[in-house]
């Protein structure tokens, strides 16, 4: 199948095609506006002439003799009765007309200047690629300069300005210029002036922008379709060409018969209209050409342009085979490297396998199993097609499988169904970074959804509210190896963005580990064994921490967790539950400091600061020092352990987790009343003009800042009051403090008070005249009138509060909507600018022209993926290691 490439392309010139070339390229001249005769046979010299290619099976092309699907077709041409402006070039034509003198055809620049520009363009033409200066840029400067001159420096005559009535009418002092006149002016420009205008006279000439002959695209480019009724329906392009031919014919007849000038001109303009819309049916300033049904015709530009056009839809983006898409659902028992694939999909997706003496019997077994299953419940991969050594594809069916089973031999290729362990690419749109497409190992499963481990949700930004994802089966040995080495999930645990883990324990995993390991939590032998069995732990149990406990020995959660730690790990850090507002001693007392000595957890709970993505210290340490494999193992096991621990303790939250005693509510109300009073005092001072502005601010601004400060403090205060009564026996608090989900602010807004609402970073100020709502007095600057919400989410909001809260909420929604589209386009431009840069072996960053963009990658040659948050060396960790912690 592979054809040899006979010649190497060294250079491509893009230029206008002249009439000579159009005729040379043409397989036939088209003169008849008809397509097929009564028998349905293409009319010679009609638009479907067999010289331009065939679209019917059985017929042969009269130019190349090829059959339907072998022949790409050949261009034809239409000789136009009168010249017509090419609407795509009308602006260039105007510029050139204005830069040259009509009588002499000379460019209105002195010979000196012409030589100057010629030299620049010539130099550019001689140089290789890799420059940002374009010939067009220099030419347009030359044209601009020439347009400025009042008279021609060559003949001395003054020039007259030509204006363009879009799209194709030229005027000179109000008088219309016919395309014929335009063409003859362009013809006059001597070759010596052309280079300056951006034309290479050896290849092209400006008068080619006025058409005398129209190229007709090959028939396979505009195939007609036969409807069910047997009626023929022509392509839009063919329709348009029929219009062109018809008017062309009438124009020629009228002109030759000596018809009145007016009629000829009208027809001429009509021909211009048809040719303009044939190129672009959305040309500004002229009505769109429509089908009989009223549908606008899809002509050449419409085929190419936009999202559904040839470029974006068919060339940049393509539909692919060996892919699947379905809804995703979670499965915590899968490894992060795996993906669960439904059997239904697995039987459609195939991997080509070349038969050799080693896999021959296995493949035969697969064929047999699939047609005569021994256990119908069990998934056994089958074979859809086999490809014989001569390249023929054979589909395996109930009838032929036995025959093909027997003749299978080395050299055949079979297309085997997906099976456990196959490597596939998994992707979720929008694909914003490289972690949006990672390689997973297949696990065939019942059901109809793709199953993924929960830890890979953040990199894909996936959740399970109906998200769908795509799966691609890589087809070659190289691709499989590449995917496994470079794209596997475990290779992406650490992010190149900031040198930390992006895949780690989330939500329940963190809650679970916290519940397992916090405080003095301990487990009897049954529980310990049950939890440890989740991680396939093999070996002796550690010595129980509480050997003499009532009811038998008990193990601490930390002991259970330590099983997963490498023996040489030594760490000391603050847990996520650490109270930032208390002293280290107090925190140590409360068991908020984590200490690991020789792979044993001595104290502290395992929470977000230990195992979560982005900030988990233990995860960070293992993934950086022990490698991707160890990190994958750790994540897989720690999450299973957490799920096991949750099964022992349980965890639930509800509205009663936001319950605080009446006493505390009273305190919050008091604090709010005090704050509102303070605000009133500030407002009073302002109203009496006693308020002093702060440096650099107006009095009003100062007042706002002060009020915002007071109200911000009271929200913190009420949160604090609520917080005192929300202890670590509260699951909502455990989730918030351990870093699993939610924050203490969320909780205090539910239990205490929601606080000040803001629009554009200021207290709410817009609405009615000098007030936000008619519930307040004009000019009221107090807390309630400007969006302070005293209520909590649980107690419910008053009507005015609700309104202010909605205003603030609306701003948040609008902001995110605007931000995503804007940052998306920003990123697209950045990616397009950087996509072909690469780091060479000498650590320079270069582009495709091999020019240097950066002399040393990142200026420090450090791969951020392997760094510790951007630093090549973890100095603190090294000191700790060498000095032994003390």
């Amino acid at each position: 199948m592979r054809e040899m490439i006979p010649k190497k392309i060294s250079k491509i010139d893009f230029a206008l095609m002249g009439p000579k070339e159009v005729r040379k390229l043409s397989a036939t001249k088209v003169i008849t506006a008809d397509t097929y005769d009564d028998d349905g046979f293409p009319i010679p010299m009609g638009l479907m002439d067999l010289h331009m290619g065939v679209i019917e099976p059985g017929l042969r092309c009269k130019t190349s003799g090829r059959k339907m699907d072998e022949d790409p077709g050949h261009f034809g041409h239409i000789d136009l009765a009168m010249p017509v402006i090419h609407s795509g070039y009308s602006k260039t034509v105007k510029d050139i007309l204005n830069a040259t003198h009509p009588a002499s055809g000379r460019l209105m620049l002195t010979q000196d200047r012409i030589d100057h520009y010629d030299k620049q363009i010539q130099a550019l033409m001689d140089s290789d690629a890799g420059t940002t200066v374009s010939i067009g840029g220099i030419a347009s400067r030359a044209i601009r300069e020439a347009t400025k001159s009042k008279s021609c420096p060559h003949c001395g005559e003054p020039k007259i300005k030509v204006t363009l009535d879009k799209p194709t009418t030229f005027r000179e002092e109000g008088r219309k210029l016919t395309p014929k006149e335009v063409r003859s002016r362009l013809e006059k420009i001597p070759n010596s002036d052309l280079l300056c205008l951006g034309f290479n006279p050896k290849i092209t000439r400006p008068e080619y922008m006025v058409l005398t002959v129209l190229s007709v695209p090959p028939v396979p480019m505009r195939p007609s379709i036969t409807l069910e009724s047997g009626e023929r329906s022509e392509d839009d392009l063919t329709h348009k060409l029929v219009d062109v031919l018809r008017i062309n014919q009438r124009l020629r007849e009228n002109r030759d018969a000596g018809a009145p000038q007016l009629i000829v001109e009208d027809l001429w303009e009509l021909l211009q209209y048809h040719i303009t819309t044939y190129f672009d049916n959305q040309t500004a300033g002229i009505p769109t050409a429509r089908h009989r049904s009223g549908r606008p015709l899809k002509t050449i530009v419409q085929r190419l342009k936009g999202k559904e056009g040839r470029f974006r839809s068919n060339l940049s983006g393509k539909r692919v085979n060996f892919s699947a898409r379905t809804v995703i659902t979670p499965d915590p028992y899968l490894s992060i490297n795996q993906v669960g694939v439904p059997e239904l999909a697995a039987r459609e997706l195939t991997v080509p396998v070349r038969i050799n003496i080693h896999n021959l019997s296995f493949m035969r077994q697969l064929i047999k199993e699939n047609f005569v299953p021994t256990d119908p419940e069990k998934y056994i991969p089958g074979i859809n097609y086999m490809i014989r050594p001569d390249g023929r594809r054979v589909k395996l069916t109930d009838e032929n499988w036995e025959f093909n089973h027997d003749r299978l031999e080395p050299g055949f290729i079979v297309e085997r169904h997906l099976m456990d362990g196959d490597i596939v690419l998994f992707n979720r749109q929008p694909s914003l970074h490289r972690m949006s497409m990672m390689a997973h190992e297949v696990r065939i499963m019942k059901g109809k959804t793709f199953r993924i481990n929960l830890c890979v949700c953040p990199p894909y930004n996936a959740d399970f509210d109906g998200d769908e994802m795509n799966l691609h089966v890589v087809q070659s040995e190289e691709a499989r190896a590449e995917a496994r080495i470079l794209m596997r999930v475990q290779e992406h645990i650490r992010s190149p963005r900031f040198g930390g883990a992006v895949i780690g324990a989330i939500h329940d995993h963190i809650t679970g580990m916290f519940l397992l390991t916090h405080g003095t939590a301990s487990y009897d032998i049954d529980q310990t064994v049950r939890v440890l069995s989740r991680v396939d732990y093999k070996g002796e149990l550690p010595k129980p921490e509480y050997p003499k406990a009532e009811g038998g020995p008990r193990w601490s959660g930390r002991q259970i967790f330590s099983v997963l730690l490498p023996n040489d790990m030594n760490l000391k850090y603050n847990a996520s539950v650490y109270f930032a507002d208390r002293t280290p001693e107090e925190n140590a007392e409360l068991d908020m400091i984590v200490e690991i000595v020789n792979g044993n957890m001595i104290r502290g709970p395992v929470d977000g600061n230990s195992i979560s993505a982005f900030k988990g210290r233990i995860l960070e340490e293992i993934s950086r020092l022990q490698g991707a494999n160890a990190a994958k193992d750790f994540i897989d096991k720690v999450t299973r352990l957490a799920v096991g621990a949750l099964m022992e303790t349980g965890c639930t939250t509800g509205i009663d987790d936001a319950d605080v005693p009446q006493d505390a509510l009273n305190q919050i109300t008091e604090a709010q009343i005090a704050a509102v009073k303070e605000v009133d005092k500030l407002v009073n001072a302002y109203n009496k003009g006693k308020f002093k502005p702060r440096p650099g601010r107006s009095v009003e601004e100062t007042l706002e800042v002060e009020i915002m400060g007071v109200l911000g403090r009271v929200r913190d205060k009420s949160g604090e009051i609520a917080g005192w009564h929300l202890g670590m026996d509260n699951f909502a608090v455990i989730m918030a403090r351990s870093g699993a989900r939610g924050s203490m602010l969320n909780l205090s807004q539910m239990a205490g008070s929601i606080g000040q609402q803001a629009v554009r970073g200021e207290r709410i100020s817009r609405g009615y005249e000098r007030r936000t709502l008619s519930h307040f007095n004009k000019g009221d600057l107090g807390a309630d009138a400007k969006g302070f919400v005293r209520s909590s989410y649980k107690s419910g909001l008053s009507p005015t509060e609700y309104f202010f809260h909605s205003m603030g909420g609306r701003e948040g929604l609008v902001d995110t909507a605007v931000r995503t589209s804007r940052s998306g386009y920003m990123q697209r431009r950045l990616v397009n600018a950087l996509e072909d840069l690469r780091v060479k072996y000498d650590y320079t960053v270069r582009n495709t022209a091999n020019t240097v963009v950066q002399f040393q990658y990142g200026e420090d040659s450090i791969d951020p993926t392997k760094s510790k948050f951007g630093k090549a060396i973890d100095v603190d960790g090294l000191i700790e290691e060498v000095a032994g912690g003390k």
Binding site: V852, F855, G858, G870
Partner: protein, 81 residues
């Protein structure tokens, strides 16, 4: 470096115009030819502020501050436009 006001701005890095004899010694170890260098316009204010007069195809050494490495040296080839 002279006392041109331009150099007082902390965002303007130090520029050094290399002598023709120095250029090969700087570029050869880096395995970079002069054509592969990033460009700098002859009319660039930094070139005008130098003591020496730069001309087309000269090479300037730019000592930049680097967030990641502390300092960084880049080379740029002077072009007319």
């Amino acid at each position: 470096m002279n006392d041109n006001i331009l150099w007082l701005n902390k965002l303007v890095p130090k520029h050094v115009l290399l002598k023709e004899s120095e250029i090969d010694g700087k570029l050869t170890p880096l395995n970079i030819t002069r054509e592969q260098l990033p460009k700098i316009l002859l009319k660039d204010p930094a070139l005008k502020a130098l003591d020496e007069e730069a001309k087309q195809n000269d090479v300037v050494e730019v000592h930049r501050f680097s967030e990641s490495a502390g300092s960084n040296i880049a080379y740029r080839r002077v072009v007319e436009e």
